[in-house]
Amino acid sequence: MTKTIVDLKRGQRGIIKSFSTENIPLKLLEMGCLPGNEVVLVQTAPFRDPLYLNINGSHLAIRKETAMHIEIEILP
């Protein structure tokens, strides 16, 4: 099963592999959310939504529904 950012535990790291939707917002890419870059789950709000991430050194928060479409490989 492919993992996505939603599957990360707090403090866990992963590498972005691909997107499962055509409509990934350009803004997210510009903030550094690109295949090959590292992502860390910093904090979650109640109900694990939104997610506070560190992507490629940029700190940002996105909603679960967007995070579901970002496929990753979880790093040990």
Binding site: E22, L26, E30, G32, A45, S58, H59
Partner: protein, 699 residues
């Protein structure tokens, strides 16, 4: 005199761009609007070495030249249009040392436009603590520009920046990477079709909805020698471009920047653990709000009392020094009390802007957005609606504009529609004076009853905003492509200078804006109250004397009766009497009716209007509050301002849409009169019903 150098400050949000701007210009700056739109335009003058002057334009923060909001459009339209009078001779791109990678994306795009661009790396004072070292000379070679390490906070590097701005002619305009390499064939055809234009400009026009010069989007659809591509292909090309740029940037940074990861343990993680905690995060946020409202009510009461008393004195002195006559009356009875009504709440506005500005500068506001997003979404809002709702407590106008960074149109529209329910500072003087009149000055469980009432009114405003958002969410059928990205900037101690300038500018703009309306209205009101139609007005003295011929009243009492009789038969008295049937069921008399009608220009006019009407009606100089307390209800008898009529009035002001400027802003932001009209009708209907029910059950 030499020509001024036009400088544009460009950068990502949260890079300290405004601090750099403040350091360059000091108080030598002005804030206006771009023509036709409500994007804030900040510009200033900076003195450079060798007597050269620079005109500095602080452009809205943007992450890239791919615009997704009105603010970002401003940046692109300026950079594309060589004929604009503000077109920069040199661009200063401000970046943050901790987010260089992301910040450089925008920089490389600006370089591709062939505009001389200086790279400022701000917050350089943090490098040591974060274990970052930069090879500036190597970076200058790689990026083909001047790189300056700056700390706006500590005033480091500012002089070097000025020197480089003065020398802008020596800065290369060569692009640092060629975006055209992503599809050489396509870009070659583009170049052949428009040989005289910059290639990257053309690309931006193709992918964005902006115009420049005589090339616009449509010119690509009618040409035969150049066929562009469909939307989704273009979108994929934009993604490709972004990836390409990041590849270049990663390369540059690998060669020029080293980070010692061991040194990079920060305060940030620890603060985030507490401030975004599932429980403590909310507790802290609630306490901060509580502190703000307490402060506004408690701290500002001293300067406010002082201002109220001073304006009363001023009226008195004016009357003493100037010859009696209509002109003196106009000043002492119309203008001074009217202006007093606005000046009196400068302290509160300043406090509000102070707090909001500190919350934003420190980076805390983003944490609140993060915490609240999920909850707000349930009501059809976004976490980003928190910022408009909180700043709505200062003024709905900047609040409506602050909704711009909400990506989703439906969430944004709902935010705009409900923001005017939050208790803006214009309601404050109305609330304060009515609370002082009808709520006893006692303690309840250790809390000041008057302060508690005010707090309840704020909560009522928020509650109503949230409730109507939920209703709108259910009834509005708008398809939304909901996505949400927010940067979580690093925490910063707010810079005194930035906060100070912000408070001064915002308060000034507010007071001047409202002051103009109030001045105009108080003059009109005074004229309407001092003149009247027919014999009833011009022969007032004779009529009153005839009526009281047997009572043998002392002169002072007779004068009072004449003044009051005159007021009743003045133009405004006639208008007031005409609207009285509509407001009587709410517990108001015709004077309050007039105050409410004039409040539709702006709420804060209420106190000024009553002040003007009452001072025309009496000869004694008193505070506004004392005058209001002595008014009697002509129909029911007893004092006019009772608990019932007071609550009714509070509710009316809490819900009614009485602000022309807000309506105008909403029209601009939604691009139709439909939504502001909807606000005006619905909110005022709710207000009328609430006031009616309150008065009829409480009286």
């Amino acid at each position: 005199m030499a020509k001024q150098i036009n400088v544009a400050l460009i950068g990502n949000p949260n890079t300290g761009k405004t601090s750099v701007f403040n350091q360059l210009t000091g108080l030598n700056q002005q804030v206006g609007n771009y023509p036709g739109i409500t994007v804030e335009k900040k510009e200033g003058i900076c003195k450079l070495p060798r007597n050269i002057k620079a005109h500095i334009l602080d452009l809205p923060g943007t992450y890239s030249l791919n615009a997704s909001s009105l603010d970002e459009n401003v940046v692109i339209e300026l950079l594309l249009n060589k004929n604009d009078k503000d077109y920069p001779d040199v661009a200063v791109v401000v970046s943050d040392v901790e987010n260089l990678k992301r910040n450089l994306l925008l920089f490389t795009q600006i370089k591709d436009l062939e505009i001389p661009a200086i790279l400022v790396i701000n917050m350089a004072d943090r490098m040591k603590r974060r274990g970052i070292s930069i090879d500036v000379a190597a970076m200058e070679r790689e990026l083909k520009t001047k790189v300056i390490l700056v700390s706006a906070r500590k005033r480091l590097g500012i002089d070097e920046l000025k020197e480089q701005i003065a020398n802008f002619r020596h800065i290369s305009t060569e692009p640092c990477l060629h975006a055209s390499s992503m599809d050489p064939d396509y870009f070659n055809r583009l170049r052949n079709a428009f040989p005289e234009q910059s290639l990257y400009k053309l690309w931006l026009v193709i992918t964005q909805d902006v115009n420049f010069g005589n090339v616009n989007r449509n010119s690509f659809n009618i040409r035969e020698d150049f066929v562009t591509k469909d939307e989704s292909t273009l979108k994929r090309m934009q993604q490709k471009e972004t990836i390409l740029r990041y590849k270049f940037i990663n390369d540059v940074l690998k060669k020029t920047v080293t980070v010692d990861a061991n040194a990079a343990k920060g305060l940030r993680a620890n603060l985030d653990k507490v401030l975004t905690h599932k429980v403590w995060g909310y507790v802290i946020f609630f306490n901060i709000l509580l502190l703000i409202f307490q402060a506004i009510y408690d701290w500002s009461s001293y300067p406010m009392d002082f201002i109220d008393a001073s304006f009363m004195k001023l009226s008195e002195i004016t009357r003493g020094f100037m010859p009696p006559g209509p002109f003196t009356d106009l000043i002492a009875e119309g203008i001074i009390p009217g202006l007093g009504g606005i000046v009196i709440f400068i302290p509160q506005i300043a406090f509000l802007f102070l707090f909001i500005s500190i919350l934003e500068e420190s980076g805390y506001m983003s944490r609140v957005v993060f915490l609240m997003d999920r909850t707000m979404r349930r009501f059809g809002l976004s976490g980003k609606s928190v910022v408009p709702l909180v700043s709505g407590t200062a003024c709905a106008i900047p609040a409506v504009m602050a909704s711009r960074n909400i990506e989703d149109w439906k969430e944004r529209l709902i935010t705009i529609l409900v923001v005017p329910f939050t208790t803006c500072s214009a309601r404050l003087p109305v609330y304060l004076i009515i609370i002082a009149l009808v709520i006893p000055e006692r303690s309840f469980m250790g809390l000041n009853l008057q302060g508690l009432t005010l707090m309840l009114l704020y909560m009522l405003g928020f509650g109503m905003a949230i409730f109507s958002a939920w209703v709108l969410h259910k009834i509005l059928k708008i398809k939304s492509k909901s996505y949400f990205v927010i940067e979580m900037p690093n925490y910063k101690v707010p810079m005194l200078k930035n906060v100070g300038i912000n408070v001064v500018e915002k308060t000034k703009a507010f007071v001047l804006g409202a002051g103009k309306i109030i001045l105009a209205i108080s003059i009109i009101l005074w004229v309407l109250a001092s003149y009247g139609p027919g014999d009833n007005f011009s022969n007032a003295r004779e009529i009153v004397e005839a009526q009281n011929i047997e009572a043998n009243l002392p002169d002072a009492e007779l004068d009072e009766m004449v003044a009051s009789y005159k007021l009743q038969h003045s133009y405004i008295g006639n208008i007031g009497k005409a609207i009285e049937p509509a407001v009587a069921p709410l517990g108001y008399d015709w004077k309050i009716g007039i105050a409410i009608v004039s409040s539709f220009a702006a709420r804060e006019v209420f106190v000024g209007t009553l002040a003007t009407i009452y001072s025309v009606g009496s000869d004694e100089e008193e505070t506004i509050k004392a005058r209001m307390a002595s008014e009697t209800n002509q129909i029911l008898g007893g004092p006019l301002f009772t608990f019932a009529s007071g609550i009714s009035l509070l509710l009316f002001y809490a819900f009614a849409m009485q602000c022309m400027s807000t309506l105008a802003i909403v029209k601009r932001e939604t691009n139709t009169w439909k939504w502001p009209m909807y606000q005006l009708v619905t909110m005022t209907a709710i207000a009328y019903l609430a006031a009616l029910i309150a008065f009829q059950t409480l009286k």
